[in-house]
């Protein structure tokens, strides 16, 4: 066979590490291997439910069970009308679960791929892409529940719902950056994953997941200071039939940009050390 491709050259000089160039190459290579990330993400989901009859439908079912139970309980606790509260809680919980799962997965994006990282050269960004795709797959199993609940309670989906698409894009970009950033610091410092776990537990209560933002009265304008709330509200508000307001969107974009910048800076500087960390 004639040589169709130029021979690949891998050159590294410790005196001149060209870190930025290698990080860019890693990012390009990782995105180019989206097929691999997709195959691995799909494998993660199907393996988890291997041999079960319902398979990945359990994702949908367990969310549905939780929604039913919490919906009744909280409607009683807060003395609000079920028909008003449950649709809102549905959107809230599904978006929260997605966010929470992404953050939890991000902490193990690299340590979980230890076997691959130490055995074969592969762009590290593939592992981050795998986390994003795995969670996108989970989201696809859960999102239809929103439609079902809306139908049961007769809540109309408005044109504003289309705004949820850019919000999901913001979330995906943020998740990708988080999977790189958290993946790296969690590989180096093994105390970070439990810390993140505790933070997310607190975040569940302070981020207006089970209570409505209007319930905090004059504190409401300050809620977007919380990145979890900002990103979640950007997805939730359009689905509930409003824009969410400029502040929420600015905050969501700003927090994502900060995450991306931190991840990039960290990735450029420490990319070469990852194989020694995991």
């Amino acid at each position: 066979m004639s040589q169709q491709f130029p021979t690949p050259i891998h050159a590294f000089d410790a005196a001149d590490p060209r870190r930025r160039e290698l990080a860019l190459e890693d990012l390009r290579g990782g995105l180019a291997r989206w097929r691999l990330a997709w195959a691995l993400a799909r494998g993660d989901i199907t393996h988890r439910y291997r041999g079960s009859i319902l398979g990945p439908l359990w994702l949908t079912l367990s969310t549905a069970v939780m929604l039913g139970a919490l919906g009744f309980l909280y409607a009683k606790l807060f003395r609000i009308d079920m028909t008003d509260y449950l649709p809102w809680l549905t959107v809230s919980l599904i978006v929260w679960n997605l966010l929470n799962q992404v953050v939890t997965d991000a902490t193990s994006s690299l340590t979980g791929a230890e076997g691959i990282i130490r055995q074969m050269p592969l762009p590290y960004t593939v592992h981050a892409l795998r986390v994003v795709m795995r969670n996108a797959l989970i989201a696809i199993h859960n999102l239809p529940l929103i439609g079902v609940v809306f139908m049961i309670f007769g809540v109309p989906l408005t044109w504003y719902a289309l705004l949820a698409i850019p919000a999901f894009v913001i979330m995906a970009v943020g998740s990708f950056a988080a999977a790189i950033f958290l993946g790296m610091i969690c590989a180096r410092f093994r105390d970070i994953p439990p810390i993140i776990g505790s933070i997310m537990q607190v975040a569940f209560f302070v981020s207006a997941v089970i209570w409505k933002p209007s319930m905090v009265g004059h504190w409401e304008p300050y809620l977007p200071i919380n990145p979890v709330f900002a990103v979640m509200e950007a997805v939730r508000a359009p689905l509930m039939g409003s824009t969410g307001g400029v502040i929420v969107w600015v905050a969501a974009c700003a927090w994502t940009a900060i995450m991306v910048a931190a991840a990039w800076a960290f990735f450029v500087r420490f990319r070469g050390r990852i194989a020694f960390w995991v």
Binding site: A11, F12, D13, P121, R190, G272
Partner: protein
């Protein structure tokens, strides 16, 4: 044309997840030869120290040396897993690595699906992967087992599959650790034949092994590593007789 050039290459493994302080006192007090403190006061294992060599077209290199000499680490570094802490490394050519047969394999997938997965790892598409599966199937000689999940494979079958996958992609440089000797006699003959095809021309074979008969039969050059340094480099017989093997 395939080449590997190293100049002053060094790899150090920091010991991160241990009680560094007590470890330091115990080990550094006994002035460990390979354990030392780096500039940031971390305890590190000097896995490879100041390696300089040049491997060119047609070289079939055996890496020999005692356990822990740095043979596998050198293979992984050349493959691009580890970034050197000092020195230069330049590798020209497509690399096929047979360092760990299980790497990147999914035990729940069938042999055929694993071939496709491996193709994806190499940046190919599913279609190219499926085409590759046929080539792998004919060489690995797994028969019906190709469509069985590989967790049902014997160690030897795993090796056949891994070897067939790595060599089917016709790399310019083949890096091999000695596990592949787990194949049976008939497979070894076919493996040797396939390797000899592979090593014709500008290709490079680099193999880490303790089996001197393999070294004598397959290799043209030997590099002896001891404590992370090269202690001998030259034609196979010279290196082996100098080491008394």
């Amino acid at each position: 044309m395939a080449t590997i050039d190293a100049d002053g290459l060094a790899i150090e493994f920091p010991l991160y997840h241990h009680n560094a302080r007590s470890l330091k006192q115990r080990i550094l007090a006994s002035s460990g030869l390979r354990l030392k403190q780096d500039a940031d006061n971390r305890v590190v294992v000097a896995a490879l120290r100041d390696l300089t060599f040049s491997i060119g077209k047609g070289d079939r290199v055996a890496l020999v040396g005692p356990n822990g000499a740095g043979k596998t680490t050198l293979l992984r570094t050349i493959a691009g897993v580890y970034e050197p802490v000092a020195g230069k490394l330049r590798v020209e050519g497509e690399i096929g690595s047979l360092i760990d047969p299980a790497a990147g394999m999914d035990t729940l997938l069938t042999g055929r699906e694993n071939v496709v997965l491996r193709a994806l790892f190499r940046g190919m598409t599913e279609t190219q992967g499926r085409a590759l599966a046929d080539d792998v199937a004919s060489f690995a000689g797994l028969g019906d087992f190709l469509d069985v999940p590989i967790r049902g494979y014997s160690a030897g079958m795993n090796v056949r599959l891994a070897f067939a996958m790595a060599t089917a992609m016709t790399p310019d440089i083949l890096l091999m650790d000695e596990w592949f000797l787990a194949g049976d006699a008939e497979f070894m003959t076919r493996a040797e034949e396939r390797l000899s095809h592979l090593v014709v021309g500008a290709d490079i074979l680099m193999i880490a092994t303790h089996d001197m008969s393999v070294v004598r039969k397959w290799c043209t050059r030997a590099i002896r590593l001891e404590g992370g340094r090269i202690t001998a480099d030259g034609p196979v017989e010279d290196v082996l007789s100098a080491a008394g093997l």
